[in-house]
């Protein structure tokens, strides 16, 4: 019990600091994944000349492991295109890649499920195509995709532990630093695992409820 006090409770500020970084990485990556997924889906469906490129990117993002993407973005991109210039940015981009691939497919399905008649109705009312997409299609797509959007957020949080590999000071990084200070992994790593598991459990439970409530409120079956 003494060890728990000394190595976990007394270090709570360090744990908290790492946890905040984890949250930051995940939040940025999640927003990037949403925008990237939307962009990929739209390019794939609406811009025929760029379609093969979008398909290749989507399949590539979906079929490569997160760790490989992380190292690839972190070591190859800066040399190739001069960006990202920090570990934090590289971590956010890499975590976003995989989810943007999955979300692109979800959005595509959601957009295809919207009846054509709605766009025709919008057109006959003189609503511009951009406006019709933003005000009519997009809200329905997001609602339809809500469960998998929430799911992707938990996937991002789970993969985020890997960013410690490229020295982003997240929760896993801080806890491994503590392990290396004392060579006493039992309490520190168990506490870290418990924090991750507890947080992801609560997160996925809450997100599933929010998605269900939203869908019910706007007249879709909870899924």
């Amino acid at each position: 019990m003494n060890n728990w006090q000394r190595m976990v409770w007394d270090q709570r500020e360090l744990f908290l600091q790492g946890f905040v970084v984890t949250l930051q990485v995940c939040a940025v990556a999640f927003v990037c994944a949403l925008l990237g997924g939307l962009l990929l889906a739209l390019v794939r469906m609406k811009l025929p000349p760029l379609r093969p490129l979008a398909v290749i990117l989507i399949e590539f993002f979906r079929a490569t492991p997160v760790l490989v993407q992380l190292l690839w973005v972190n070591y190859v991109w800066p040399e190739l295109i001069g960006w990202p210039n920090s570990f934090f940015t590289a971590a956010c981009v890499a975590l976003a890649l995989q989810s943007s691939g999955y979300l692109a497919e979800t959005f595509r399905g959601a957009l295809e499920a919207i009846p054509r008649g709605q766009f025709e109705a919008a057109g006959s009312l003189g609503i511009s195509r951009t406006r019709a997409f933003l005000r009519i299609a997009l809200p329905q797509m997001l609602l339809d995709a809500a469960p998998s959007i929430g799911n992707q957020f938990t996937v991002i949080v789970k993969s985020s532990a890997l960013v410690s590999v490229i020295a982003v000071p997240d929760l896993m990084f801080e806890s491994q630093k503590l392990v290396n200070r004392w060579y006493e992994p039992i309490e520190i790593l168990t506490a870290t695992a418990a924090i991750y598991i507890g947080f992801i459990f609560l997160m996925s439970w809450a997100l599933a409820r929010v998605a269900g409530a939203l869908r019910r409120r706007f007249g879709l079956g909870a899924n």
Binding site: E59, F60, A63, T64, P65, V66, L67, V68, Q69, L71, W72, Y75, V76, E79, L80, T154, V157, K158, S159, S160, A161, L162, V165, M172, Q176, V179, P185, I186, L189, T190, T192, A193, Y196, I197, I200, F201, S204
Partner: protein, 233 residues
């Protein structure tokens, strides 16, 4: 820029190190196969406990599933490699250390057993009640009903659908390089730090994983839809 691009696409290093890389790939597949078999077995066991009659075992099954499904792979691998041997060692009063390969297999099998347990449970619950009742009416014992009536249908129905889980499991095996299991990613990192040329190596690694996963996913999907139509024709 163009020089960098040429460097990225220069995969001659891959050819030079082909024997080591192939050995790494072989190890990746070994980790995958071992943890997939273990995860399926544990997942099936947990699913059976979950629909079983003993309340405590049911509670354990729920706990197991929830912990496994919410644990990040990397955290679990590190925990199993560095903490579990110490705990077991304390229990049996002996110093203990796990071979990284076993740690990797145990951790991955644990995490994915949660997903497989849910898949199996959904399959078991989808079997019409009448089948079990028919078995009882014919005087079959509960165990015989499970093994001869329920499980064959479950496996046939669920295995094709767990394609995605197998795919993400194979992708997750790249993480085991971080505890020094000499898999493909580990060899790539080693060569990269030796040659100081990360560009072609990491790009090549990404391409290798892409080709394997993409082909496997496409083939498995085609196979499973064929199998389904055969089973339920």
């Amino acid at each position: 820029m163009s020089e960098n691009l040429r460097e990225v696409l220069d995969l001659s290093l891959f050819w030079e190190y082909r024997t080591v890389l192939l050995k790494g790939l072989w190890m990746s597949l070994g980790v995958f196969a071992a943890s997939a078999v273990l995860a399926l077995a544990v997942g099936l066991g947990v699913a059976l406990l979950r629909v079983g009659r003993n309340a405590w075992l049911r509670r354990y099954a729920v706990l197991h599933t929830e912990v496994a499904r919410n644990a990040p792979d990397y955290i679990m691998i590190v925990w199993v490699h560095f903490v579990l041997p110490l705990l077991v060692g304390k229990l049996i009063g002996q110093r203990l250390e796990f071979n990284p390969f076993y740690s990797a297999v145990i951790a991955l099998a644990f995490v994915y057993s949660g997903y497989f347990a849910e898949t199996f449970r959904a399959g078991i619950e989808a079997i019409p009640r009448g089948h079990v009742e028919a078995g009882q009416a014919l005087g079959m014992s509960p165990r015989r009903i499970t093994w001869r009536l329920v499980l064959p249908q479950v496996v046939r129905r669920m295995l094709p659908e767990s394609t995605n889980q197998f795919i993400s499991m194979f992708k997750a095996t790249s993480i085991v390089s971080l505890i020094a299991v000499p898999d493909l990613m580990y060899q790539v990192s080693m060569i990269s730090s030796q040659e100081m040329r990360p560009l072609p190596l990491y790009t090549g690694a990404a391409l290798v994983y892409f080709v394997i996963v993409f082909c496997a996913a496409t083939a498995l999907q085609a196979f499973s839809s064929r199998w389904r139509s055969k089973v339920y024709a």
